[in-house]
């Protein structure tokens, strides 16, 4: 393997703050521009590694073919009520996507992701400040000789702040599990497979990083709620803005 491939073009370039350029229309597009990407190092809560897998038994799709479809149709595999506004350039290193996620109480959480890494057999999305968790999600596909391809989503994360940590504990983890289990089943269906999704959860670090509790300032849930609540005011102010 060594020397037979290179990662030179697969990684995004470092960015201090995210910029949203061209994405599919319709997303609120807040809580993304100007935010810094975050890794588990910058998060608050316990650190988790969650791995979701589906075996594409009966399909002869190669890992590269699976990832090609996954990148191309990524939003269509998500559960209803959650929207992924893909970059017009597609899922490529350095591109930024906008997300509107369903939260309990019919709330919408607007956030985004940076495409941190993308090659032919995997891609990784990194979250910005304010997202529910700090970390990344790697989508990959692999195949043993003579075996069907296995598609996998793996999340490495810490809840970003104390409020999210409480939310994750009070059902957020289960909701996230359902999200990715649905996604993998939908991906398998795209290859004509009725997939049985396995889930593995590993607590990598039980400690909470109290030094990062101040991340709550960026909490996209709170900011999305305020944005929604202030919609009538913004609507009322429109004529005055037009008039300059």
């Amino acid at each position: 393997m060594s020397g037979s491939h290179t990662d030179g073009d697969a990684w995004a370039k470092p960015v201090e703050k995210l910029a949203v350029s061209e994405v599919e229309p319709g997303g609120a597009g807040i809580n993304v521009a100007g935010k810094r990407p975050t890794s588990p190092v910058q998060g608050f809560g316990r650190m988790w590694q969650k791995t979701y897998r589906v075996r594409l038994t009966g399909s002869d799709a190669t890992p590269a073919q699976v990832i090609e479809v996954w990148k191309r149709d990524f939003p269509y595999f998500w559960p209803k009520g959650n929207r992924f506004f893909a970059p017009l350039a597609g899922i490529a290193p350095g591109e930024v996507a906008v997300l509107d996620l369903s939260m309990p109480g019919r709330l919408k959480l607007s956030t985004g992701v940076l495409v941190m890494y993308a090659d032919e057999e995997s891609f990784t999305l990194m979250t910005p400040q304010g997202h529910m968790f700090s970390g990344w999600i790697t989508f990959s596909a692999a195949q043993d000789d003579g075996e069907p391809t296995v598609a996998q989503a793996q999340v490495l994360m810490r809840a970003s702040d104390p409020l999210y940590e409480v939310g994750m504990t009070m059902g957020g983890h289960r909701q996230e599990d359902r999200h990715w289990e649905h996604t993998l089943r939908a991906l398998a269906e795209a290859f004509g497979v009725e997939g049985d999704v396995s889930t593995e959860t590993l607590c990598v670090d039980k400690r909470r990083q109290w030094g990062n509790a101040g991340n709550v300032w960026h909490n996209a849930g709170i900011r999305s709620g305020m944005y929604t609540a202030s919609a009538p005011l913004r609507f009322a102010a429109r004529p005055f803005r037009r008039g300059g």
Binding site: M1, T6, D7, A12, V15, P37, Y117
Partner: protein
């Protein structure tokens, strides 16, 4: 699945408080056993710093950077600092992108890393 690459990594101990892991080839999910085995050999009761030598690194994907995060957690749990040297400009940029450079001290060469660790 990706074939596991189990070739071991070299571990050196310049002092009883400092260990150096010479990383060669690639850092991917397949190298997890080798990396964690090397860390296990590098981490003694009195070890306070673990220095990763990336001079021989040829390839790293996002699963590999995840491994380094896991290694960082293990080191923190053992009250050890993780340091690195020998990163090419490309891999320095990846540390910057993933903000691992905020948690892992990066140095130009082994002498600088050991001096900082002294």
């Amino acid at each position: 699945m990706t074939e596991a690459t189990t070739a071991s990594m070299t571990v050196r101990t310049p002092s009883e408080e400092i260990s150096v892991i010479d990383i060669d080839g690639e850092i991917t999910a397949a190298r997890e056993p080798a990396l964690m085995d090397a860390y296990g050999r590098a981490s003694g009761d009195r070890t306070r710093r673990v220095v990763l030598n990336f001079s021989g690194l040829e390839y790293m994907n996002s699963s590999g950077i995840g491994l380094l995060v896991t290694l960082l957690v293990r080191a923190n749990r053992n009250h050890q600092r993780l340091q690195a040297y020998g990163l090419s400009e490309h891999y320095r940029q990846i540390f910057e992108l993933t903000r691992l450079d905020e948690a892992i001290g990066i140095y130009d060469d082994e002498a600088a890393a050991l001096a900082a660790a002294a």
